[in-house]
């Protein structure tokens, strides 16, 4: 009878097959889980194994190679044979027997020693106990005598044992020494062999490093995640420091190991590893990889994930030169970074092309306007030329920094009318006060020829070009920092030009153009020459009326405001206008959602592509409804790449203090001073920080070019440099090129002095030299040394008013200036090896090789004596005349 609720047929039913399938599935799932977890999601294991093999094979090959060399080395063969002989003689023969006996004896002696030692130790502890009992009894006022007797007994026993112990020790040591002596020869040979085989055995260690050896079994190491934790590298949204974790070296395992420079990725050595990953630079155990390269440091499950080149990861790997963007995160002074040339170039472009006129960026707020002031513009320009220039400046001067706003002619006219109206009164007043000099002869061939000669010799070419494609300081690939004057005659008039070159600051107080201290005659000649370059274009019909038209003026003002002309130019009444472009301080961290692609479908959706196309064709993303007004700069693609590197570095990132490069006062001095130096284009003539001196290319003889200023801070006294910058004078009589008078403000002159001091790491800018403490002996010796009988210094050097014989080209600086100008320590360095301080200098080396009969023939003493002599030379009031070159001096007037 069937029980209720129980179905017998159900009881008899077999679920075996279900369980079987279930367990089979479970097993399969488990296996799959293992597979997935260990293989599919851990591609890095494969990479590591691959690397171990690579490393092992490479080491093995190197080992075999070295081994072959070693085996062929007769020295090695001989030593190996000696070693084998030594070992063989130990294993048999009389020496072997002796060794065996000795070893047996040593064993017995050792046992004997240890037994005795044990006994002594026991007695010593019994003594301890006895003393305890004794002291205890004394403290309890019992009779302590029996204990004392026991102690004496024990002490006697110890005294008997101790000499025996010493004898046993001596015997054992003697035997040991003898055994060692027998082994010694073999040991020595072994050491020598190891020395010979060091190069080979190094590779053995490399092989051992990637393998695990279990007896006869050998296999590759088990792959392991390689992880770097960079504490406090990042900051979270709440501005709290957080760590960053990098696992890049799990696959890029040889990144900091030499020898894999040509290995396939991911196993290649870091380029310039010895510099970039050095302990004083970016050791990977401190800086990780993503600090510079970005990517998703913790990810190891696929290459794309690890490199962060996946959807929604905001910081994909910076490939190629783009990595230079990251330097800005920690380095304030990026121009000195040898390995970030594109960043340095980009930064110069960014500062000098005029980006900061419209765009605010933190750290670049105080860059002065790059264009000329437009006050009094009416005194300077041909009005028709001005209209055409505004319409499209690239047509007249393709390499100008001024961008093309693609104005229609009536728009250009309106802007010109507005600017003209602002400057007319002022311009006319200025002209009234600056009449054309009486002696000026327009179109006089002789004057022009003289002017041309002057332009080519006195330094105009340090900044300006005068023929097609001529320039001194490059600004990117196809821009000029300073205008090329090959068509200057089309633009301006002789009267303005004459007064401008004579004293640029008189016309425009803020200009960077310096005065070359021209005489009236020189200025007239140069003006005459410049006016032969280019000729006036066809005047625009009725230009005067059009410029005076009130409607035009009104429209012009609106256009000037809209396009932000005041970003680059000083315009009356618009001094306080703010920049019209967007702020770029965090532009590098912009996500795709924040970038407006307009209706463009042909541009790849990446930050890189957006930025490149924006700079290349600034209005590319405009649509019918969205106007864009950024003008066209016509930059070369290389320059856009460089700018993009800079823009990429404008990031919202606060790196932890410990990762930052030095940014103390000196670094700030250098960065700011360099910026100023570049604005004044000092590098046009002088080589500074091993860059520049571009005017050199016009000189066959390097000694005729301006002096390089590498190490200037170490060389000259700070107060001298300051006053020289304020009022330069001809220091090197053989140079035709002149150091111009820039009219630096005290602030700027100070900043430049700090810059040179900062570059030379001058700790103490002012140093006193006490000439009273100079030994007489030194002065007397030096006087002999400088005389014609010895070094004959005044054969070339001036001494105050005493000029050397021969032509001026062969002269050298006035030595009476040294006490005011040069640092005493620098003089020593200079005299030791002038070529080292300034390669190519005319100053020959007198040392080593000073005369034997002065100051004991010691070079160092002679150099010191010369230093003392120079610092004491002259009367101290010998500061040279600061007046400009007097007119009519034969050298200048004759040219």
């Amino acid at each position: 009878m069937a029980e209720r609720g129980i179905d017998p047929s159900e009881e008899k039913k077999s679920y075996g097959s279900v369980f079987l399938i279930g367990s089979a599935l479970l097993v399969a799932m488990t296996l799959w889980a293992f597979w997935d977890d260990n293989i599919t999601r851990r591609p890095w294991k494969g990479f590591q194994r691959q690397f171990f093999r690579l490393d092992y094979d490479k080491a093995k090959a190197a080992y075999d190679e070295e081994n072959k060399k070693l085996q062929a080395d007769p020295n090695y063969q001989e030593l190996s044979k000696k070693l084998a002989d030594a070992r063989a003689s130990l294993n048999g023969g009389p020496l072997g027997d002796k060794l065996e006996t000795l070893e047996e004896q040593e064993e017995r002696a050792d046992i004997r020693f240890k037994e005795l030692d044990q006994e002594v130790k026991f007695i010593k502890s019994e003594l301890e106990e006895a003393w305890y009992e004794h002291d205890h009894a004394v403290q309890q006022r019992r009779d302590a005598r029996p204990y004392l007797e026991h102690i004496r007994e024990l002490e006697k026993e110890q005294a008997q044992l101790e000499p025996k112990l010493e004898a046993a020790r001596a015997e054992r040591d003697r035997l040991r020494a003898e055994i060692k002596k027998i082994h010694a020869s073999a040991k020595e040979i072994e050491a020598e062999l190891a020395k010979l085989a060091a190069e080979r055995d190094k590779w053995q260690r490399v092989m051992d490093n990637v393998t695990i050896n279990l007896g006869p079994l050998s296999m590759y190491k088990i792959p392991k995640i390689q992880q770097v934790v960079m504490d406090e590298f990042d900051r979270n949204r709440f501005d709290q420091p957080i760590a960053r974790v990098d696992r890049c070296q799990t696959c890029h395992i040889a990144i900091n190991r030499a020898g894999f420079e040509d290995a396939p990725q991911p196993f290649r050595t870091h380029p310039r590893r010895e510099v970039l990953l050095a302990d004083n630079a970016h050791p990977p155990e401190k800086f990780g990889c993503t600090g510079c390269h970005e990517g998703q440091g913790v990810a190891v499950n696929s290459v794309a994930q690890a490199h962060g080149e996946v959807h929604l990861w905001e910081y994909p790997l910076l490939r190629g030169a783009k990595v230079q963007s990251s330097c800005t995160s920690c380095h304030l002074d990026v121009q000195k970074l040898e390995d970030a040339p594109l960043l340095a170039e980009g930064q110069r472009l960014f500062e000098q092309v005029g980006c900061t006129g419209c765009h605010l960026v933190q750290g670049y707020e105080n860059i002065p306007k790059v264009g000329p002031s437009l006050r009094r513009i009416s005194a300077k320009l041909d009005p028709s030329w001005m209209v055409r220039w505004i319409e499209n400046p690239h047509k007249f001067r393709p390499r100008t920094r001024m961008p093309n706003f693609e104005f229609k002619q009536e728009e250009a006219l309106a802007i010109a009318a507005y600017l003209w109206s602002l400057s007319k009164d002022d311009g006319e007043a200025w002209l009234q006060n600056h009449p054309m000099p009486a002696g000026f002869r327009q179109g006089n061939g002789a004057d022009s020829a003289r002017g041309k000669k002057l332009v080519e010799s006195i330094g105009c070419k340090g900044c300006h070009g005068f023929t097609e494609g001529e320039f001194s300081t490059p600004l990117g690939k196809n821009k000029d920092l300073v205008p090329n004057l090959k068509d200057i005659g089309a633009k301006t008039n002789a009267r303005w030009l004459y007064h401008w070159i004579k004293n640029p600051r008189d016309f425009s107080p803020e200009t960077k153009m310096p005065s070359l201290r021209l005489t009236d005659d020189e200025a007239a000649a140069i003006t005459s020459y410049l006016m032969t370059l280019g000729s006036k274009g066809e005047p625009i019909q009725g230009i005067e009326e059009k410029l005076a038209d009130a409607n035009n003026i009104k429209r012009g003002e609106a256009l000037v405001r809209k396009y932000g002309c005041f970003g680059c130019h000083d315009i009356e009444g618009m001094e306080k206008e703010s920049r019209i472009g967007v702020e770029l301080t965090t532009f590098g961290s912009k996500t795709l959602e924040e970038l407006f692609f307009g209706n463009r479908t042909d541009i790849k959706r990446t930050w890189d592509d957006w930025t490149f196309n924006k700079i290349k064709t600034p209005r590319i993303y405009a649509t019918e409804r969205v106007e864009q007004i950024m003008p066209q700069f016509n930059l070369a693609d290389e320059d856009i790449h460089a700018l993009r590197v800079v823009l990429g570095g404008f990031r919202e990132r606060k790196v932890g203090q410990r990762y930052l490069a030095k940014r103390d006062d000196r670094v700030v001095d250098v960065v700011e001073g360099r910026r100023l130096m570049q604005q004044y284009n000092c590098v046009g003539c002088h080589e500074i920080e091993n860059r520049g001196g571009f005017v050199k290319k016009y000189y066959e003889n390097p000694a005729s070019a301006p002096p390089p200023l590498n190490g200037e801070g170490e060389k000259v006294q700070s107060d001298w440099l300051f006053s020289f910058l304020k009022a330069p004078f001809p220091l090197r009589p053989w140079l035709e090129i002149r150091m111009p008078t820039f009219g630096f403000s005290d602030e700027h002159a100070n900043q430049l002095v700090r810059y040179f001091n900062g570059l030379s790491k001058v700790e103490i800018p002012f140093a006193h030299f006490d000439e009273k403490s100079v030994p007489r002996e030194n002065l007397e010796a030096a006087r002999i040394l400088v005389s014609p009988e010895y070094f004959n210094c005044y054969s070339c050097h001036q001494q105050g008013d005493k000029k050397p014989e021969g032509p001026q080209e062969g002269w050298a600086p006035d030595l009476t200036l040294a006490r005011e100008r040069l640092k005493p320590d620098w003089i020593i360095k200079w005299l030791r090896d002038p070529q080292k301080v300034q390669p190519g200098t005319k100053m020959p080396s007198f040392f080593p090789g000073g005369p034997d009969n002065i100051l004991g023939g010691k070079d160092d003493k002679q150099i010191e004596a010369l230093r003392d002599y120079l610092m004491a030379l002259g009367d101290g009031a010998g500061r040279p005349p600061q007046a400009p070159l007097a007119p009519g001096k034969p050298r200048l007037a004759g040219r």
């Binding site: 014609p788 009988e789 004959n792 100053m843 020959p844 034997d852």
Partner: protein, 237 residues
């Protein structure tokens, strides 16, 4: 302190032709031939410029001086250096001391040729300050003062190069040190003649170098114990 400082010139960075010296192996030459001939100047040479002796006249201005940078006599070119550029094996290189004299403020000889690795003894018999400023690119440049008391000084030129030397004290002084990559070189005499001896039989590239006229090359085949005659003609630029 040695009176005659020895300045060993360390390796320059631009070691381009230096490889040539490393490649050359000297030894004994049996049945060597020779190359001889004349270097001519094509066209009419300009009259040599008189040098303006404007300093230390009592020492330097004793005899009138003319510019030595282009010396042509009857159409024959002096001071040209003839050398075999592509020889790998031949006679031994003898790096003996050669002498550059500055007597009367003039480099004598005007062109001094020697195998690379030689030491040049620079003499100053004038009793005034000279300096020897080298404009080298392959070897390390030097600029050594030679005051009155330093009658001689030694300079070692390690690598093959034609080096211009000048004196900054006396602007007109100019000359050449030519360090050859092998022992097969000769400077043409005033008749433009030269001779290279003990040349192993073979075909070689012979180069003529002149400071003003540049270089010309010609293939020359040398037979055992015979003299290969070859003439060159250089034209003004």
């Amino acid at each position: 302190m040695g009176k005659f400082g020895m300045f060993v010139l360390a390796a320059g960075l631009l070691a381009l032709p230096a490889g040539a010296a490393a490649q050359y192996a000297g030894g004994d030459v049996k049945d060597g031939g020779s190359i001889s001939g004349t270097v001519k100047f094509k066209g009419t040479a300009p009259a040599p410029k008189k040098l303006d002796i404007n300093k230390d006249k009592e020492v330097c201005g004793k005899t009138p001086k003319v510019d030595q940078s282009l010396v042509v006599k009857d159409g024959n070119l002096a001071n040209a250096v003839v050398m075999i550029t592509d020889i790998k094996k031949g006679k031994k290189v003898e790096t003996k001391k050669v002498v550059l004299d500055q007597e009367g403020c003039e480099y004598k000889p005007h062109v001094l040729a020697f195998p690379a690795g030689s030491t040049v003894e620079i003499r100053n018999p004038d009793g005034i300050l000279h300096n020897v400023h080298s404009y080298s690119k392959v070897n390390t440049p030097f600029n050594l003062a030679q005051p009155k008391f330093k009658k001689t000084m030694d300079v070692k030129i390690e690598k093959p190069e034609a080096i211009e030397v000048k004196c900054d004290v006396h602007g007109w002084m100019q000359g050449w040190l030519v360090a050859a990559p092998n022992p097969y070189f000769a400077v043409t005499d005033t008749s433009g003649n030269f001779k290279l001896t003990d040349v192993p039989p073979g075909t070689y590239n012979v180069e003529v170098w002149h400071e003003k006229l540049g270089k010309i090359n010609q293939k020359v085949t040398v037979k055992a114990k015979e003299d290969a005659k070859v003439n060159f003609e250089m034209a003004g630029k």
